[in-house]
């Protein structure tokens, strides 16, 4: 038996007690240190996981093991490392919390909620001297995602902030619809991806979260209250550090999430009554929900006893209306607003070029003649700046403004070149942005050597 063979791999158990599979053996590698009896719970086997220095406390990991920027936002010790072709976040915590969060993230993923991807829980870590080390939770860094504090270089602008809060409210509504009580809603516990000028929010920290069959109003309201207080605190902190436009009022801004959330929640769940003759309102409600990016999978219609009134209530709504349509037509995977933007262009393309063609066929042509040429035009060295779908959105936008400014129909090739030279080249890479130490909140159980930064 090799010394590395003590590591135990488990397929993801459906509950904490269920035993995993038999250990899978892996040949010893000469540079590999002793692994002791690591216990790894993972959904998919990433053999590279074993190459990371689990026998060293996270704080002391050598720079060679780390991805460029070392720290994330967490009250625990967190480090970023390379794993295969991606970047992973490694968080030291207690075994109970690591497993809870791992399983919670797995469940959220299955329910199609935007959240970070859990990779593994690793326990049974010991130093070569036999001292025990805390278990870790490993999650995959979300490519092209941004912490809110990385969304500004000098100061955070008010309209950016408003869009962030709208994205956060939408995420909270989606979580509440599936019965997830977050318990620690904050901008710090969320990552943002650009979405055609808006943002799409992803849950990063599920430590305090619980899934219920359905949430009570008390739970939803309390989550919202936590969101408001945390966002106010985060903005007050930015204000104190001079990192936010002066005209931004932290308190008033934090209250935006209440309005944004409540508006959306009402639209998605409210019972609506109307006269029998106004049946068109059923279709109108569904179109309104589609516009907001939701599909209605199930709704309840009741007629009143006297038969003159209809009551309509959406039962199951599912986010991602436009993303799904885009995926179905083109196979492209994009955020909701990006999808909306691309679909608009695709529809216009069809109307202009081949209005009689099948939607699917025209979509295929659009991908070949519009989408792919733009993406291919981006030189390799600029590939890490923005996601392809966001680049296409920006090019379309750029072309529209250019055409308006110059009062002519600017050809696509010219617009693309101008976009690359004047815009994209001057942006920073966002594929793997993580935070630098001075841009984050401080955890309580961290060593105060942090203060030296």
């Amino acid at each position: 038996m090799s010394e590395t063979s003590n590591a135990q791999w488990h397929d993801e158990p459906t509950d904490y007690e269920q035993a995993g599979k038999l250990p899978r053996l892996r040949p010893a590698s000469s540079e590999s240190p002793s692994l002791g009896s690591l216990n790894i719970t993972a959904a998919a086997t990433d053999p590279e996981l074993l190459d990371l220095p689990w026998h060293i406390a996270l704080e002391q990991w050598p720079a060679s093991a780390l991805a460029a920027l070392p720290r994330g936002i967490s009250r625990h010790i967190v480090r970023f490392a390379h794993l295969g072709g991606s970047v992973i976040a490694v968080k030291e915590t207690s075994e109970h919390i690591a497993r809870h969060e791992y399983h919670m993230l797995r469940k959220l993923q299955r329910l199609d909620v935007p959240c970070v991807e859990p990779v593994a829980v690793i326990s049974g870590r010991t130093t070569p001297d036999g001292d025990e080390l805390d278990p870790v939770l490993v999650t995959r860094h979300l490519k092209f995602s941004l912490p809110y504090r990385a969304l500004f270089s000098q100061t955070l602008r008010r309209d950016t902030l408003t869009r962030l809060i709208d994205a956060q409210a939408l995420l909270l509504v989606r979580l509440h619809l599936i019965g997830f009580y977050w318990g620690d809603v904050s901008l710090s516990n969320t990552l943002f991806r650009r979405d055609a000028g808006s943002f799409a929010a992803y849950l990063v920290d599920a430590e305090t979260g619980e899934l219920y069959p359905e949430l009570s109003t008390g739970q939803r309201e309390y989550d919202l209250e936590i969101a408001r207080v945390n966002i106010a605190g985060e903005l007050m902190d930015l204000a104190e550090g001079g990192l936010i436009e002066e005209k931004v009022d932290p308190l008033a801004t934090s209250e935006l999430i209440m309005d944004s959330y409540r508006r959306l929640w009402t639209e998605l769940t409210e019972k609506e009554s109307f006269e029998l003759g106004e049946r068109w309102r059923v279709g109108a409600r569904i179109r309104r929900l589609n516009e907001l990016g939701f599909d209605v999978e199930e709704y309840a219609i009741k007629t009143a006893v006297n038969g003159t009134q209809i009551q309509l209530q959406p039962k199951v709504v599912d986010a991602g209306h436009h993303s799904r349509r885009l995926l179905r037509l083109t196979g492209l995977d994009a955020q909701e607003n990006q999808a909306r933007r691309l679909l608009n262009d695709m529809d216009a393309y069809r109307a202009d070029n081949n209005p009689t063609l099948d939607e699917e066929f025209s979509a295929h042509l659009w991908v070949n003649e519009v989408f792919e040429p733009i993406v291919r035009a981006v030189p390799r060295e600029l590939g890490g700046k923005l996601e392809p779908a966001e680049v296409v959105h920006e090019v379309l936008e750029h072309r529209w403004y250019m055409s308006e400014r110059e009062d002519r129909n600017v050809p696509m090739a010219e617009a693309v070149q101008s976009y690359l030279d004047d815009e994209l080249r001057h942006r920073r890479d966002e594929a793997e942005i993580m935070l630098t130490a001075d841009a984050r909140t401080i955890g309580i159980d961290e060593d105060s050597e942090y203060g030296d930064n």
Binding site: R75, H96, Y222, E225, G233, S254, R440, D447, S448
Partner: protein
């Protein structure tokens, strides 16, 4: 300051038959530190969240003071959930980190300063109010987080496993601080943990729950010395009480080769031919003359003055784990066989079928 009353409070999740919390009755005194403890799924966190307003109460009531809060929204209940979020903000001073929630609540600047100063005094943070959190030690940061809850002057503190995030050293330190602080403040506190040691060291009283049903609510001493049923007997105490199903004989209970004397009136109350006998590891005596129950030693845990034997005995053809505390200077060896018997007057008897306690300690 206020009392807290659970009055037949019940939580039934939609689509389930068995309540997560079933007719919970607890009266918590003003200023009391009550701990809810039990294994995973026992309903302790659900009970706390019902008090917080985070779970609907399907029947029964919850009162804070004389006020029925059963249908009051969480933020209007005058409670503080402690350590909900204890990330500290790097650009804000310690004082602002403690007082920012008051600012959100619209409390005046003067009052904010006053409340923060008071809390800082209690927490021994007065000298640090103007500093930034990065200048603080881990323990001091933990106290700033506690300060956030204290400045709100709530009627009740609610704490749901607040220490589970901390490393072992900080956990023990903070445990002591929380207990002494809430007593000094005199604020009624309801604290949830799965760790019975934490429960026993912190609570004025401890409520033990299992399967949504309150098993016993009592002082730590009474829970230890007079557990109401087999579950509490086995749950409270570390290492756990030995619980053995033993046959009844004339004048007592058959304990290996001896009859442990028990008054007939106690045994008459038992439903069957057996009783469940409970005896703590420290209440077993190793018999030099080979009397009592034979225990084969599997592991010896030496702790200096004392040692614990983890072993097993055979009852009715089945192995049964046993833990015995012995003199640490002359512990038996692994593989040895020893005979043990209970010390007279330290045995707990339970009805085997109902699990209920039969009498005072015999």
């Amino acid at each position: 300051m206020a009392t807290v009353t659970f009055d037949q409070a019940t939580r039934l999740y939609p689509g389930t038959e068995k309540p997560a919390v079933d007719k919970l009755d607890i009266d918590i005194a003003d200023g009391e530190f009550l701990v809810l403890v039990g294994p995973s799924g026992c309903g302790k966190s659900t009970s706390l969240r019902m008090l917080a307003g985070l779970e609907d109460v399907n029947s029964g009531r919850i009162l804070i003071g004389d006020r029925d809060v059963t249908d009051v929204p969480p933020k209007d209940r005058d409670i503080a959930m402690v350590f909900q979020n204890y990330a500290l903000y790097p650009h804000m001073s310690v004082a602002d980190n403690m007082g920012f929630a008051l600012k959100i609540a619209g409390v005046s600047k003067e009052e904010r300063a006053e409340r923060v100063r008071e809390a800082a005094k209690l927490l021994d943070l007065e000298d640090y109010l103007d500093r930034k959190p990065k200048a603080l030690s881990g323990g001091q940061r933990q106290r700033v987080a506690m300060g956030r809850a204290i400045v709100r002057n709530p009627q009740v503190f609610l704490m749901d496993e607040p220490l589970s995030n901390l490393d072992a050293k900080l956990r023990v330190q903070t445990r002591t601080q929380i207990a002494s602080l809430t007593r000094r403040l005199g604020v009624t506190t309801v604290y949830v943990t799965h760790d019975q040691v934490e429960a026993m060291t912190m609570g004025d009283r401890v409520a033990v729950l299992k399967d949504g049903i309150l098993q016993q609510v009592d002082t730590p001493r009474n829970l230890y010395e007079r557990p109401k049923n087999v579950f509490v007997a086995g749950f409270i105490g570390s290492p756990a009480m030995n619980l053995l199903e033993l046959p009844v004989a004339d004048g007592g209970v058959i304990f290996g080769g001896i009859v442990y004397p028990v008054p007939g009136s106690v045994l008459d109350a038992a439903a069957g031919n057996t009783v469940t006998l409970g005896v703590r590891p420290e209440d077993l005596v190793v018999s030099a003359t080979g009397e009592g129950l034979p225990v084969e030693v599997d592991v010896v845990e030496e702790l200096g003055a004392d040692a614990y034997i983890y072993g097993h005995t055979t009852l009715d053809g089945k192995n049964h784990d046993m833990v015995v505390r012995v003199d640490g200077r002359r512990p038996p060896m692994k593989g040895d066989s020893v005979f043990v018997r209970p010390e007279q007057g330290h045995v707990h008897l339970f009805d085997t079928s109902s699990g209920l306690r039969l009498a005072e300690t015999v």
